[in-house]
Structure formats: structure tokens, C-alpha cells
Symmetry: C2
Subunit: 424 residues, 2 copies
């Protein structure tokens, strides 16, 4: 059986590689034509998509998935309209391919151009939400990459219908249909084959929970770009404006607690903790936030009679993804930087302060993809950064760090022009 998967996946890889070589030089107009055809098809084939989605949902209900999980799998007409609109938005973005990144002539007369080109073939391994099929396919396509999609079993039928629409749109625009392929099985053996297909696949991007990402990182021999957890901090400095600290902290914690750029921890400077922590804590608990406090913050909140709990050690390294916030009193800016670099995840961290020198030290010292001064960590995403769209937020330190948009789905090559130069 695993021989069959090897053959199946190798064949997908070979087709993807061939398609990627054509796609790398495809005109922008053809790629945009494919995207606009897809946007039309999503609306034109709404009934087919929703029928497949109903099949997945009834299976999910039969398997006892929680209502929140079922909601994540669900498509309806408004969601399809939003999906089609996002496809049109990507069509409107500038084509990243072909941009001359550097250009120079060497003393020997050789002329160098460093030109942006697609990465090649990208494997996307994802869970649950059906819009990921469309998001990843269109971003890869616009950046000139062939994509091999491997979605989760909970939404298999929906994904397959969506992938068929993508492929039809690509073919309709005169581009190679295998520029996007969907692995027609959720068997893990096929996934393992994909992650070893170094001959044809140049990059693997996992999108999903920590378990999936860890599994991919540990088993792939192909380079992986990870979009891991966000254990994000808000540090309220001694020179913080109390009102601003409250606004930023509430936004960072409460506005959407289940996402990676939500705050999980509050650090507050000892010089202002007695004064600022109780009102901050009251504002948070009023929004349903449960506070997990170190000894110093617990003592302050006990005196101020604000509800709180004692933290256990692992609260200080946990991505809660819910209305829970770890709280610590910190004796200096340098300690705050040290704690964040030790216990954080290098994702998004913020300082609230009116002290520009402290802010600069914080931004230089905190070793995270995005370091905010007087702004909410929730701004860390591709749209807010002005990228237009993103395939994820990279927590890696190679190639992409932070939002991964169209340029980050590309690499470069060097074109060198001479008139007969030799080296020896």
C-alpha cells in the first residue's frame, strides 16, 4: 500500500515540477485571468461547494466534533462571497516575479542582475478551515509557484471541490492545470511521502495547530517554513500612560484571544505596579479575563481586592488562546527583555512607555519578529503590515520572519552577462 502512495505522490511531484517551470515565466495577465475565473467559479458553483460542505459537516457532527470546530468547517453564501472577494484582491496585487532586486557591473565587465523568481514547488499541509485551500492556492499561483495541497480529513470533500475549481480556472487561463494539485487521500503515508520528495518539492508550509507543525518539522527532509505559536507579551513600563496601557492590553488580550498575535502575558514594572495594576486588572476581569499571577502581582491584587489566581510555572510559557493572562511584576526594563527572550516565542511583543530611550532599548533587545512600541500586538499580520495578503506569519529565522506575503513566496536567481570573460 505504501508503494502505491509513493507512486502517487511522486507522480504529483513530477507534474508539479513541470508545471512550475512553465508558471515561472507565465505572464501576469494569465495568472490574474486564472484568479478572476476562480472568483467567478466560487460564486457560480456555490451550490456544488455547499453540497460537498454539507457532506463534510454531517460527517463531522456524526464524529462528535464540538460546535466551535464545526463552525470553522462551515461554508455558507456570505463566506463564499468573502472568499471570492479575497481571490479578486490577490489578482489586484502586484506580481512579485521578475523584479530586479540588485543590478551592478563588476570591474571585469560582468553585468549582474539579481532577479526575483518563484521558489518552485510548494507543499501546503493544513487542517480544518476550507478557505485555506483557496488562500494557499491563489498566493502560490500569483507568486508563480506550483502547489501541492494536502488538507485535513474533516473537510476533505469541500477541499476537493474547491481544488477542482482552482484547477479548472488555471486551465481556462491557458496555464498548466498541475500548477495546483490536491492529494486525493488523507492517509498519513501519503503525507510522509510528500515530505521526502526533495527531488521535486522545494518548500513545505504547514498551516494548523502546534501538533501538525511539529510533526511536519520533525519528519520533512524538505525545508519547512513554520508558523508556530505566539506567546506574546505586553510590557507596561514605569513611564507608561495608564490609559494607553489599558487600551492596548485589552485589545491585545480580548479582541480575538484565539489567534497567534493575541497577548498571553502582562509584565508590569515594579515602580508602577501598585498604582497601575489594579485598574488594569479590573478592566481585564470585567471582560472575562482570568488572571494567573506571580507572587508580587497576586499580593497587589489581593490588597486591591481584584479577582485573580496564583500562576503555576507553565502559565509563563503557555499560549492560552483563550481569555487567560499570565501576570508578572518586573523590576527593570532589562529584566523584561530577558524574560521575554527566555519565555516568549519570538512572535509579537509590545512595550507601553512614554520613554523613547526605553522603547528603543526594548525594540533592540527583544528578539522577536515584531516588536511594538505603544501599539497592540494584534497588528502583527499581513494586511495590517500592508502586504495585502499572507500565507501565514513565520516564526522561523530563515527566509521569512513575520508576515509571509507574495514576495516571501519567492526567491531570486542571478543572471550574469559577459562578453567572453573567463576566470583563470
Amino acid at each position: 500500500m505504501s508503494v502505491d502512495f509513493a507512486t502517487l505522490v511522486t507522480d504529483l511531484g513530477r507534474r508539479a515540477r513541470a508545471a512550475s517551470l512553465v508558471l515561472a515565466n507565465a505572464p501576469t495577465a494569465a495568472k490574474n485571468d486564472a484568479l478572476l475565473r476562480l472568483a467567478d467559479a466560487i460564486l457560480g458553483s456555490a451550490e456544488t461547494i455547499l453540497a460537498a460542505n454539507r457532506q463534510d459537516l454531517s460527517q463531522a457532527a456524526a464524529n462528535g466534533l464540538a460546535p466551535a470546530q464545526v463552525d470553522r468547517l462551515t461554508l455558507d453564501l456570505p463566506r463564499l462571497r468573502k472568499l471570492a472577494a479575497s481571490v479578486r484582491e490577490v489578482a489586484a496585487l502586484p506580481d512579485p516575479v521578475g523584479k530586479i532586486l540588485e543590478e551592478y557591473t563588476r570591474p571585469n565587465g560582468l553585468r549582474f542582475q539579481k532577479v526575483r523568481v518563484p521558489i518552485g514547488v510548494i507543499g501546503i499541509i493544513y487542517e480544518a478551515r476550507p478557505n485555506v485551500t483557496i488562500d494557499c492556492a491563489i498566493l502560490c499561483l500569483k507568486a508563480g509557484n506550483a502547489a501541492i495541497l494536502r488538507g485535513g480529513k474533516e473537510i476533505f470533500h469541500t477541499n476537493q471541490v474547491l481544488a477542482d475549481l482552482v484547477r479548472a480556472a488555471i486551465a481556462g487561463a491557458g496555464l498548466p492545470i498541475d500548477a495546483v494539485q490536491f492529494i486525493p487521500t488523507t492517509d498519513r503515508a501519503a503525507l510522509l511521502e510528500l515530505m521526502k520528495l526533495n527531488a521535486y518539492v522545494h518548500c513545505i508550509i504547514p498551516r494548523g495547530g502546534e501538533g501538525l507543525i511539529r510533526f511536519v518539522a520533525e519528519n520533512s527532509t524538505i525545508p519547512v517554513i513554520k508558523h508556530y505559536t505566539g506567546v506574546c507579551f505586553v510590557y507596561v513600563d514605569q513611564a507608561a500612560d495608564a490609559g494607553m496601557a489599558e487600551r492596548i492590553l485589552l485589545d491585545a488580550k480580548v479582541s480575538r484571544p484565539g489567534v497567534c498575535n493575541a497577548a498571553e502575558q502582562l509584565l508590569i514594572h515594579a515602580a508602577v505596579a501598585e498604582r497601575m495594576l489594579p485598574p488594569l486588572a479590573r478592566a481585564l476581569t470585567a471582560q472575562g479575563v482570568q488572571l494567573r499571577c506571580d507572587d508580587a502581582s497576586a499580593a497587589i491584587l489581593a490588597r486591591a481586592k481584584v479577582a485573580h489566581q496564583a500562576a503555576v510555572p507553565k502559565d509563563f510559557t503557555t499560549e492560552f488562546l483563550e481569555l487567560t493572562l499570565a501576570v508578572r511584576v518586573i523590576d527593570s526594563l532589562e529584566s523584561a527583555i530577558g524574560v521575554i527572550n527566555r519565555d516568549g516565542s519570538g512572535h509579537s511583543d509590545a512595550i507601553v512607555t512614554g520613554d523613547a530611550a526605553a522603547a528603543r532599548r526594548f525594540q533592540a533587545g527583544v528578539d522577536s519578529a515584531a516588536v511594538f512600541w505603544n501599539a497592540s500586538t494584534r497588528f502583527h499580520d499581513g494586511f495590517e503590515f500592508g502586504y495585502g495578503a499572507e500565507i501565514g506569519i513565520s516564526t522561523d529565522r530563515l527566509h521569512a520572519r513575520g508576515p509571509m506575503g507574495l514576495p516571501e513566496l519567492c526567491i531570486h536567481k542571478f543572471l550574469i552577462v559577459g562578453d567572453g570573460q573567463v576566470r583563470a
Copy 2:
């Protein structure tokens, strides 16, 4: 025993991470001071280095290493002077860290800076030549990264002495001594521990033969940047100048056959093969090159009475690294592009032609890190590209592709400045 290695390597990793956080914000002057101290120390401690080297060499001779291999391990005073000079050259290069790569303000008033920062902690796994210890240490240091070095057993004592000199120079400049660490064992168990140390090590760079690189790529859970084989092509187009084709081909094949940017294959257009191949082949065989020919090229050379051999299939995908060249007659430019993309390694490929349109199609179509028009593939290295120094030539398609110099040993982070902005 493996528990001991885990403890040993984890401790190295923890120290490297701590050092990297200091080094990331170290002034350029301090880093350069460390480099200049090292250059002095290499010459000042020449006798100590050479004594350690003699110890390794006598062991190598006792182990029956071939003279060419022993030569690669050998240091002498001229080589040490060259090594010291290369350290001074890196001190003279601009500091890549801190450069503002992008800067913009969003409509909501948030100000964004994308700033170049070090990657963090880099593990270097290498074989044989002792200059690699110095090269990698100084490039990592200048780019603000902590390095963990793991050299080969053949040159262990030399490497250890060199690493001690690097550490002393770093400490002498007031920087954290653990910015460079050397794994004090060549036991493979320690290497395996290093490659799983994701908590502290951000990137692994293997330098050595294909076997080592493959072993690292297959066993590391940390992102790897590979510097693989070069199966490089020279394509002589129907519009090639015969004299230029000969000069380029000789340079690409003969000037240094043992390196990754040397040509391994000649493709020649059928329209000119009968006329151009025999003199090209004579020039090559006069330099001792053995030709491995397909049927068409063999027939031409047989008629012209030029020495050659029939190729076997694997000659068309082999990195010979010696005076052997595979030869094929190709019926079109498009076929040449297809053959190179199928059988090459994506490293360095050249077209010789007077036809600008053909050259542009070749440079767009060949999916390699460096694509040359009328110049030798041998120009593909960091110095020739104007980078000043390189840690290798990446054959990967993430982060770095082609020469990997100081900027490629860095990544970026985003600094965002607001005045209280929230998202919700």
C-alpha cells in the same frame, strides 16, 4: 553516554543563545576589534597552531590518508598568513546588521521599520580543511551570530587550537566568549544532539561532501542551508562564437575541476556540432579532459578522429569533480533548457551565443541559481560576485540562493511605533 552528550550539547546551546543576544546589539567596532585580534593571534601563535597541525597530520598519515587529502589538512606559514589576511578582509567589510531594509507609515499612523538583524545561533558542521573553522567563525561573528562549530576528526587538534584563538580574541574585545564554541568531541552522538537543539539553534550549515550534507539534511530538525553538488552545464548555441566557446569551456572545465562551479557537461546545438565540436574536443583532450559522449557527439568525434568514450546514462547527472566532461548534441535551445532543468543541479549554467533573444530565453528558462551568458560558470562565487566573502554557495531555494555572504547570514525583524493604536 548519550545522556552526557545531550547535557554537553544542550549546555553549549544555552551559552550560545545567551551570547547571541548580546552579540546582536554589539557595536561594529567591538566585532572588528575581535577580528583584528584574531588576525594577530593567528600569526603570533603560529608555532602552537602548526604543532597541533603536525599532530593531526601524523595521525592522518598513520591512518593511510591519500597525499591529496593530507595536503588539504596541512597548514604552513604561508597558509596562516593568507588566513590572517582573510580575517582582516572580513573586518574591513561593512557590518550587515542594523540596516533599515524598508520603512513606511500605514494609514492608521503606525510606523514600520524592517531592520536587518542576525539569525541568532548557527551550527556549522564541516569536514577536513582547517581554514573552515576560521572562515565560519569570523563570518558568523561579523554578522552578529553565535556559532557552534563541529569539525571533522581528521583535523581535530588544529581546529581546537584555532577555536581557542577565536574565543580569546572575542573575549579580548569585550564580547561574550561563547559567541563561538567548538564541540570538543567528534562523536556522532553529539552531532545528532546538536541537530535537534531547536530551542537554542536557529540554523545549521553543513560544509563538506555530499554524504555529510545529506546526513545533516536528513537528520536535522533545525532548518538547514545546503551547499550541494554542482552539475554545471555549458551550452554552445548555434549562434556561438567558436573561439569564445572554446575559451569559456576550457576555463569552466579545466581551470579547477574539483570545485562545484566547474562544468561537468557540454551541450552543443546540432546545427553547429559537426563544425564546432571537433576543435572544441581537441582543445579539451589536449588539456587531459576525458569526453563521455552521447551517440550523436560520438559519431562526429569518430569521423574527426578525436579521442572520446561512449557515455553511460549516469554520466549525464554526475558531478565528476575531475577532468571528465559529458557531451551531448542538442536539437534546439528549448531542448537544452529542458535537459539542464532535468539533469542539472540548479547551480551554475552558461550559454555561449551571439543571439541576444536566445540568451534571454535561456536565462529565463534555466532554473539555476546563476545563469551565465558568454561567461564561465567558474565566476559563481562570493568574491567574484562582489560579496567580499562567503560561507558557501547555497543550492537551496529558501533564504539564500547562490553565494551566501554576510547579509545572507542575517534575517530581519519589524519595529513598529505607534501612539496607542489598537486594532479592534
